[in-house]
């Protein structure tokens, strides 16, 4: 069984009767059994997947209507609720939490006959960019097991890259889909804020986070986006996309398009290999008929500080619900006073979540809000103005997705400020609500490099067209696992 096929090819093959959903799922489960001990992408594997695949095969054989996924195995980041299954957020705090309902993205994919092959690893509560903050241990980069796969949706990127599923859903608050997509050489999209419902996504920083597809090809990403985008009455921040078909016209090319190269995202500190790959991407885009020139977004320099200030504030509020009365592990109330009980429960948070909760209490507090939180909101506002101005002149903006190559596990975990700076190229899309995509572009000394495009709000069509055009210019080696 060829597990390396794209989502679109999978659908074609099952539709034509060349393969059965059951055989494909059986081989996928076998693949997970053989490689995941090394990779640790999965926190939970769906033991019922094979039965679900048989049901879909039955529907196909009996001529019943079958959803567009045809039993495609999709992995789900473990911060999205699937009814009656564990949703841990890679935290000890939610170790035994069984979701009582489906997230909207899950209901939508279920209606399309997708099979959720398992829940995948992440940094605890999506706070981190290496998966090292998972309470269940880090995932490994399939390109080199000593290296981080990126994060926080590391499990999503690893499972797609290592052929343990066909596609995955991650969530992106400051680059958490695009960063691991870049580090694992897969495609990762952070859509326009509001394009995909967040109902059933465990909240971290509501005002900027979005669910996004992780796939092996740009077309697969558009295919998945078609199924999960659009209005949801359970999330009033969603926007009407008028049932846009993101696959339609994806091969329109980029001739005549104007692309701005964000100066601050290729500044000092960018790895020479990343810089050289970016230059090569620019030259290829110019050969395809695009015009590229540098553009400055001055506020990018302050974006990481603004991002961490805003997200910590929202996290401090969101995580206040973890008091062990509604969520948490089972220990007796007897002998505890209210505050000491909650304090004991919160010992179950990992170090990064604990740190961000403290920061989240500090930066918006009376006496400090003016210096930190309010200033961060002002930077967000000014950055949005700058990027809106840039989109008056340019159709797209471009940068390397991450300014550095994937780094070794353990290398930066003790230096939170060094980790901050890895986010410099990705947080702008979140702070401004714009869509952005990471496309695999090069491999340097066995480590992947991704290129990021940004487009104006609700302009995913053009974003995917550009990503597809760039994807077609490269033939990358296969993942060595």
């Amino acid at each position: 069984m060829n597990l390396k096929i794209s989502a679109l090819d999978y659908v074609q093959e099952v539709q034509n009767g060349n393969i059965s959903a059951e055989d494909f799922i059986a081989s996928t489960l076998e693949r997970i059994r053989s490689v995941d001990e090394k990779l640790h992408a999965f926190l939970n594997v769906n033991e019922d997947a094979l039965n679900q695949a048989r049901e879909i095969d039955k529907k196909i054989k009996s001529g019943q209507k079958v959803g567009a996924c045809f039993g495609m195995p999709i992995s789900i980041k473990d911060n999205m609720c699937i009814k009656n299954s564990k949703t841990t957020c890679a935290s000890k705090m939610l170790e035994n939490f069984v979701a009582p309902y489906d997230a909207t993205v899950i209901s939508k994919l279920k209606a399309k006959d997708a099979i959720f092959i398992g829940k995948v690893n992440m940094d605890e509560f999506a706070m981190g960019l290496t998966t090292e903050f998972s309470a269940y241990g880090p995932s490994k980069n399939p390109w080199n097991l000593d290296y981080t796969p990126g994060g926080s949706s590391g499990g999503s990127a690893v499972s797609v890259s290592a052929f343990e599923c066909v596609a995955s859903l991650g969530s992106d608050t400051g680059g958490s889909v695009r960063n691991p997509a870049s580090f694992c050489s897969v495609v990762g999209l952070k859509p326009t804020y509001g394009l995909i419902s967040r109902f059933g996504l465990i909240s971290y920083a509501n005002s900027i986070e979005q669910i996004g597809p992780v796939t092996r090809t740009v077309k697969d990403n558009a295919f998945l986006l078609n199924m999960i985008a659009g209005l949801d009455s359970n999330d009033n921040t969603t926007v009407d996309n008028k049932n846009e078909d993101y696959l339609s016209g994806i091969d329109s090319g980029i001739e005549g398009k104007k692309i701005g190269i964000i100066k601050e995202m290729i500044a000092d500190g960018t790895d020479p290999a990343v810089l050289s790959a970016t230059k090569e991407a620019i030259s290829k885009l110019e050969n395809l008929g695009a015009t590229c020139e540098e553009v400055s977004l001055d506020m990018v320099k302050y974006s990481v500080a603004a991002y961490y200030t805003i997200t910590a504030t929202e996290a401090g509020s969101n995580l206040a619900r973890y008091d062990n009365l509604r969520y948490g592990y089972d220990f007796s109330l007897e002998g505890y006073e209210f505050n000491s009980y909650i304090q004991k429960a919160r010992k179950n948070f990992g170090p990064e979540v604990t740190r961000r909760m403290i920061i989240g209490g500090f930066v918006p507090s009376a006496g400090h809000a003016g210096k930190y939180f309010l200033k961060a909101l002002k930077v967000k506002n000014k950055l949005t103005k700058e990027i809106n101005e840039a989109f008056k002149k340019y159709d797209l903006l471009l940068s390397p997705t991450v300014p550095v190559l994937p780094f070794k596990l353990g290398e930066k975990i003790d230096d939170p400020v060094a980790l901050f700076l890895v986010d410099i190229n990705t947080v702008t899309a979140n702070l401004t609500g714009k869509p952005a995509i990471s496309v695999p572009f090069a491999i340097s000394n066995g480590l992947p490099i991704g290129i990021q495009f940004l487009a104006d709000s609700m302009n995913e069509n053009m974003l995917l067209q550009a990503a597809y055009a760039l994807e077609k210019t490269v033939k990358l080696p296969e993942v060595p696992i």
Binding site: V98, P100, Y101, S207, S233, N234, N236, T237, M299, K301, Y302, A305, A306, Y308, T309, G316, N324, L325, R326, G328, Y329, D330, L333, Y336, E337, F338, N339, S340, Y341, I342, Q343, K344, R346, K347, P351, T354, R355, M357, I358, I359, G360, G361, F362, V363, S365, K371, Y372, L374, K375, A376, L377, K378, V379, N381, K382, P416, V417, F420
Partner: protein
């Protein structure tokens, strides 16, 4: 400059026990110090805009029955009440 005492005080208010000074206070200190860069952004005169959703765009405010008893999913409940430890 933020002081260690301020960090410890906020941690207490957030009901977090800071037993490992290096892991929490020192690292939080370094993270907050980094945010000082915001002082040089020159955004003092900038406005803060919020996303506004007109009330007419919200879904109907109606009761949607849930098929299960959610209270039974809690660790500590008694009848229809959530049980919590005593407040001192």
């Amino acid at each position: 400059m933020v002081t260690e005492e301020e960090i410890e005080k906020v941690a207490k208010l957030m009901k977090i026990e800071v037993d490992d000074h290096k892991e929490y206070v020192d690292k939080v200190h370094a993270m907050i110090d980094y945010f000082d860069i915001l002082d040089s952004a020159g955004v003092e005169d900038e406005e803060i805009t919020m996303q506004e959703i007109p009330i007419t765009d919200l879904r109907e405010d109606e009761y949607i029955p849930f098929e299960e008893k959610l209270i039974e999913k809690l660790n500590h409940y008694k009848g229809t009440y959530v049980r919590a430890p005593k407040m001192s």
